[in-house]
Symmetry: C2
Subunit: 353 residues, 2 copies
């Protein structure tokens, strides 16, 4: 038997799901049937994937009948309920929620870093990391393989779309209200003008907001702890020192991170450039004399992790400073999900031929 | 004799000069005559200070006749030429340019941290720090006094006005062009639309730009080295480990910094809060459960250094994470200049009574 695997896309109508359908239409076509699944609210809609109009079916046990691989891009609680059901029906689930990432029986996979972990999946579920972790981890993983990572101190510049479509809509609406004004010079003038804060705890237009996610112990945000916990798990460094401060900025899509990375071994900028240039999925743009460094406006809509501003710390020959940008909807979500699913598809094909 | 000192404001018509005149009109009135000085282009304009319309005179040796204190808010090369001339005429110069900050015979002063240094001024010149350093150093100085600072790792979120009025104009113009569009989702769409980048090396609307200042050795920007050199000098810690990554964000005014500060002694969040709450010039706003943390939109137009998101590093009992905001035109420039000048004025009055 030599068939291509059947794929289900759960959450096909969401922000990440939309990018996933685009990617499935442009990447190598490893899939047989592609079934689109969503909540009752979106079921019945017709979406185009691989040039074919496809009706969205409602999320149900029956939706997973005959499915080999299921990608989930839905809220944590929906994944928590439905991923085990899909797995019980025989699908390998690639889940982009936070529900399973720290489950010791669920691998957390970035194919460029730990593709081998895909095989250890006792629950039939593979987790996709949080978009902030994903925006830097391919570059960090490549440097770790050479220098041996010992510490990460990260400050993020996170885009509105990390908070979903409502984040994007909120920022666009706020920008319309502040454009053409002289706001942003008196305390609270922006706050009083922008109206609805949407999913953010403060205005995002003409502002930066040092908060993402929900409050956890000792003043940390859930987003900051994800960067810590997920980096440790992906890199298989359970004792890695990680500190993150997550900040939202008025950018539509593409997360940026300022990273201080300390290693076991001495580093040089030349060697770091060489490693990053040969790393799959990484592009180096690092020539400030010519104005070359990554910015979200140039990186959005692209697949790689972009790295620039590579410097060796002046006080520490073992530490590098980097500025990293990655599209949080692509490598940060949909692309990595697709890549994991393709690893599983290749395994499926190998075992069925 | 019991007269008040005569003040000259050099660069009275610039972005910082404008804020200075506002401050001189609202702070305690320690000055006798206030003379406004500017380039030939602006001379003859009439500006209001302390409710009195005052004609701007042209920058010349004669302008410093009888002046006791001269505040300079002009480009580096203008200060380099004219500050020594004003000093030779007997004025104490408080200079906000970068021309003298690292001169060992010129003190670099933040009154809350090292007011005593004002007295050691063999050249008759006192320097005001760079706005990025100033936006955090009052809070850091207070923590250092208690815990003993050993390392700073800083990522900045710097406002457009740090690049002068042309930075503000550029951002406002770019925002008008992107508001109401669906830009920010395709590579380069913002770049192609915003037109002039003004003083920035890339678009600033819907973007963040990891660059401020000019290129120095080994890929560092001048702004990043200023944070390092000036923090060391102000805190009198010539060996302090300092690493900065400076990033411009689409905010009009108020710089923010994500700071990882390591100390000689163990820290607690409670003790840090207590120190910061009692530190002159610092306001603590740190209750994420209630959405309380500093943001530029709330801090702009205010005098203090605002501190929030205080956390102890999970891997290091000697390190604190902070998110700090300060108005870069006020404490970051005009206010600190005015405060230094007031220290000199008090000294003048004491020596003349």
């Amino acid at each position: 038997m030599n068939r291509k695997p059947t794929l289900a896309v759960v959450g096909a109508t969401g922000a990440v799901g939309t990018v996933l359908l685009e990617l499935l239409s442009t990447r190598q076509d490893v899939w047989g049937e592609i079934r689109l699944v969503a909540s009752a609210r979106s079921a019945g809609r017709r979406l185009v994937v691989r040039g074919v109009e496809t009706e969205v079916v409602v999320l149900s046990e029956a939706a997973f009948e005959g499915v080999d691989v299921a990608m989930f891009d839905v809220p944590d609680e929906v994944s928590a309920q439905w991923a085990p059901i899909a797995a019980a029906k025989g699908a390998v689930v690639v889940d982009n929620s936070g529900a399973f990432r720290m489950d010791p029986d669920v691998p957390l996979v970035v194919p460029e870093v730990n593709a081998h972990a895909v095989r250890m999946r006792p629950r039939g579920i593979i987790a996709n990391p949080n978009c902030t972790t994903l925006s830097m981890i391919v570059a960090i993983g490549a440097l770790h393989a050479e220098f041996g990572l010992s510490e990460l101190i990260v400050s993020s510049y996170q885009a509105a779309s990390g908070a979903g479509q409502s984040g994007v809509d909120t920022l666009r609406d706020q920008l319309s209200k502040v454009a053409g004004t002289h706001l942003g010079t008196q305390p609270g003038d922006v706050r009083r003008t922008v109206g609805d804060f949407g999913p953010f705890p403060a205005p995002l237009a003409l502002n930066v907001v040092p908060w993402a996610g929900s409050l956890r112990e000792d003043g940390w945000s859930s987003e900051e702890l994800k960067v810590r916990d997920e980096s440790r798990k992906i890199l298989a460094l359970p004792e890695l020192r990680v500190t993150a401060t997550c900040v939202r900025v008025p950018v539509i899509t593409t997360h940026s991170l300022s990273v201080h990375a300390r290693f076991e071994n001495e580093v040089t900028v030349e060697k770091a450039h060489e490693i990053l240039r040969s790393a799959p999925g990484v592009v180096v743009t690092d020539n400030p004399a010519e104005g070359e460094f990554p910015t979200p406006a140039d990186v959005v809509g692209t697949d790689p992790t972009w790295v620039g501003r590579v410097r060796r710390s002046m006080d520490d020959p073992n530490a590098l400073e980097l500025f990293v940008c990655g599209d949080n909807l692509r490598k940060g979500a949909a692309l990595n999900t697709a890549q994991i699913a393709e690893v599983v598809a290749a395994e499926f094909v190998a075992s069925h031929t």
